[in-house]
């Protein structure tokens, strides 16, 4: 039993992601990306992942894609005269990409997936996620902070007007 809502959301998501990939104007690509991310957040809510949904919007839509837009506007990119890569690459890429999708779908169809019909109260909230994050995943968590620090430094250095 698949709710029609899911079908609608899925179709919208695919459409938005196609905008990302195919639109000639980078700004529209970015907007397509935001839409995709927003719809994914809605799907996350459907999967009881409230916190991740909120973070998805705050981090992805609110920061990362804004950065994309910011850079696109800073470089003043317009509609591109030549959007696509050379034809052979496009054909190979499309064929291989499509094949990947089909193959993955085929693999998915083979094995029954786990399905916990009922999850405990509070699932997807802040507390259980934080509990995993600060116990089992504490080392990756700390390493992530290092990664972010390095990224900040790298971005600051690269963002300077002149690289010497």
């Amino acid at each position: 039993m698949i709710a029609p809502l899911f079908v609608l959301l899925a179709l919208l998501t695919v459409a938005a992601s196609l905008v990302v990939v195919l639109h000639r104007n980078p700004v529209y690509s970015a907007l397509g990306l935001v839409t995709t991310l927003f719809l994914l957040a809605v799907l996350f809510v459907g999967l009881d992942a409230h916190l991740v949904a909120a973070l998805q919007i705050i981090v992805y839509a609110g920061a990362i894609v804004v950065l994309f837009l910011f850079v696109i506007m800073l470089l003043n990119l317009q509609v591109e005269p030549r959007t696509l890569a050379p034809a052979p690459l496009v054909v190979t890429g499309a064929v291989l990409g499509g094949a990947l999708g089909v193959a993955t779908l085929g693999v998915l169809g083979r094995d029954p997936l786990p399905l916990a019909a009922v999850v405990g109260p509070g699932y997807g909230g802040t507390e259980p996620l934080a509990e995993r994050l600060f116990t089992a995943y504490i080392v990756p968590f700390e390493l992530t902070s290092v990664l972010l620090l390095v990224a900040i430094i790298g971005a600051v250095v690269l963002g300077k007007k002149r690289l010497s």
């Binding site: 690459l89 990947l100 193959a103 083979r110």
Partner: protein, 638 residues
């Protein structure tokens, strides 16, 4: 045997000078004057701690020891070496000499180096040296001893080349380091042999394994012989014996306090100390002891001969040091470590004194070192003269000064010791005569006769002594007070019961029976004869040396040119090594480099094919990634 007492006192004796070195390293550039206080200050601290430790040791009675276990150092299989400091009667004697004489020389150095801009660096090295020397002396096992051994070698290198802007000084430092390396190689091999057969490098442990070692064989040779000879190689390097003595005379390039402290009083006695400490091992191999005695005697004779024909005041003292070290080896070789250490102590007093006196003379003359341009300094530098006179009489062996007792102990021991060598004993008397002669020559040329120095003083040829004055002048109190104190020690040091103390540790007991009266008279006579000959040659009939030299002809030249040992080594060792290295280098370029370059070229050539895959377009790479991902999915789907 008294059970060793555990303490934490000993580590601070080592730490104090190390902290001084650290301070000089960190703060020296900014506060050089403070360093001049801290440098000797930490030595005073170490001396005080040493006295406290020795008093604690004395309370234990005969055969006692203090142990300071720092931490377990190496534990590999059955082998174990701990960083443990140990104080027993033998190391106590050395400890007091190192800290006591070291302290006086540090004080002296404050005056001597006062105007050197690099005084902080100097005290850093000097303190570091003392720390390393204390590790060497206090080490409980040979491996830790080796740490100190290498440490003092490093500091010696640094200090010989202290005025490194002069290429000759730097070369002298390098020579000292390289020659010592040869000895160290022997030492390490000796350690390997001992570790293999005794299973321990602990000094007490080795003594306890004596029975096992006695029967052990290595390549058909008894292990004690092999180990003893290898360790002897190390000792000849550090203590400047044939064939590795050549570095010591050159080491006089360093500042005079360095010569006094390192190259006369302490470091060069490390070899003597080491052999004395391992006397239980050497006692197992009398043949090695004989070798030790022969090496010592020949060195003593050779160095004394060279010493008679040198003109540089410090060089004479350097050869004298080599010669006296030969005496100590003779004592070791005749099975009398007590006598050897006794001579180490008295030698530290009078040779330290003589070097500091020579430094005072050099200082007073604005850097002049050539005795031919000295003379008549008696009136200008009375304190230096009188103290050096004491030192000269002491080294010559005139009773009742200290040298007389220690030298007598050795000479008589050569005939009556546990491993008697009468022939070498006779040679020893010859050396004693020569010693008296060249020391007398040094004293007379420097302080008597007409001043030949006036013209030499005006221009300063020295090492940054900026204050050249018209006339020679006495040194400041900071330099003369250590001289006086050392002179007192040189005069009275003979009364110390060092042999008896040392033999409680090393054995054999009772080997230091005093010589009969006629032997004492003979020794005194030899010393006085030497001095008298010097008086005859350099005061009464100054033209005599010229005639003798001319009469001897080539022989004299040979002696003056130090038997051309350096040239011999150059011909026998250095050049063949260089030649072989040249040939090997050619082979290296052709074969090894050729193989490496060939492999590289091969890879580069074959890479020409593969590099077409690298287009620089990131999308082509992404295509590869995608293809790989697809392959993976298909493999899973299989």
């Amino acid at each position: 045997m008294v059970t060793p007492e555990t303490t934490t006192l000993l580590r601070w004796i080592v730490v104090a000078p190390a902290l001084g070195a650290l301070f000089a390293l960190v703060a020296g550039r900014r506060a050089p004057r403070l360093v001049a206080w801290v440098g000797p200050g930490v030595l005073a601290g170490a001396l005080g701690l040493s006295i406290a430790a020795v008093l604690a040791l004395a309370r234990q009675g005969e055969g006692g020891a203090l142990l300071d276990p720092l931490y377990p150092w190496i534990e590999a299989g059955g082998f174990r070496a701990d960083a443990t400091l140990r104080l027993d009667a033998l190391s106590a004697v050395m400890l007091l000499v190192v800290t006591g004489v070291g302290f006086l020389i540090h004080v002296y150095a404050v005056g001597y180096m006062a105007e050197d801009p690099d005084i902080a660096r100097f005290f850093c090295y000097l303190n570091l040296f003392v720390a390393a020397m204390l590790i060497l002396v206090l080490a409980d096992n040979l491996l830790l001893l080796f740490v100190g051994w290498e440490g003092v070698g490093l500091c010696s290198y640094l200090l010989i080349g202290f005025w490194y802007t002069d290429m000759a000084n730097a070369a002298a430092g390098k020579k000292a380091f390289l020659v010592n390396r040869i000895g160290d190689a022997g030492f390490i091999l000796g350690l390997f042999v001992l570790a293999w057969f005794a299973g321990t490098l602990d000094v007490q442990g080795i003594a306890a394994q004596a029975e096992t070692l006695r029967t052990a064989q290595l390549g058909g040779w008894p292990v004690p012989v092999v180990a003893g000879l290898l360790l002897l190689v190390g000792a000849t390097g550090k203590s400047a014996q044939i064939p590795l003595y050549v570095w010591l005379p050159d080491a006089m390039a360093g500042p005079t306090p360095v010569s006094a402290l390192i190259h006369a009083a302490t470091m060069v006695t490390a070899g003597v100390y080491m052999i004395a400490r391992l006397h239980p091992l050497y006692a197992l191999a009398p043949e090695v002891l004989t070798v030790v005695a022969i090496v010592g005697t020949v060195t003593a004779l050779l160095a004394a001969l060279i010493g008679t024909a040198q003109c540089d005041i410090k060089r004479v003292l350097a050869y004298s040091t080599v010669s006296q070290l030969g005496f100590m080896f003779l004592a070791l070789g005749t099975g009398m470590p007590g006598a050897a250490i006794f001579h180490v102590v008295t030698h530290a007093f009078f040779k330290g004194l003589l070097f500091l006196g020579a430094g005072s003379v050099i200082h007073g003359l604005g850097g002049e070192q050539d005795m031919r341009r000295m003379g008549g300094l008696r009136r200008h530098m009375p304190i230096t003269f009188w103290t050096m006179l004491v030192g000269t009489l002491a080294i010559a062996g005139v009773p009742p000064l200290s040298g007389f007792f220690s030298k007598d102990e050795i000479l008589w021991g050569a005939f009556t010791g546990p491993n008697p060598q009468p022939l070498l004993g006779v040679l020893g008397y010859v050396v004693a005569f020569l010693t008296a002669f060249y020391m007398g020559r040094l004293l007379l040329l420097t302080f008597f006769g007409a001043p030949r120095a006036a013209h030499a003083v005006a221009h300063d040829s020295g090492h940054g002594h900026g204050h050249d004055q018209g006339t020679p002048h006495e040194s400041p109190a900071v330099m003369t007070v250590p001289l006086i104190l050392l002179a007192l020690a040189s005069a009275a040091g003979g009364a110390l019961p060092v042999p008896a103390i040392v033999e409680t540790v090393t054995g054999p007991h009772g080997a230091h029976a005093h010589a009969p009266f006629w032997a004492l008279v003979l020794a005194t006579g030899v010393a006085l004869a030497g001095l008298g000959l010097a008086w005859l040659c350099y005061v009464a009939r100054p033209e005599l040396p010229e005639r003798i030299a001319r009469g001897l002809g080539g022989l004299y030249t040979l002696v003056a040119e130090k038997f051309r040992v350096d040239e011999l080594y150059d011909r026998l060792v250095v050049r063949p090594v260089f030649g072989a290295a040249e040939r090997l280098a050619t082979a290296d370029r052709a074969l090894v480099d050729g193989a490496v370059n060939g492999a590289g070229a091969l890879v580069a050539e074959s890479a020409q094919l593969g590099r077409r895959l690298q287009t620089g377009n990131v999308q082509h790479y992404a295509l590869g990634v995608l293809a790989g991902a697809l392959a993976l999915v298909l493999w899973v789907a299989r």
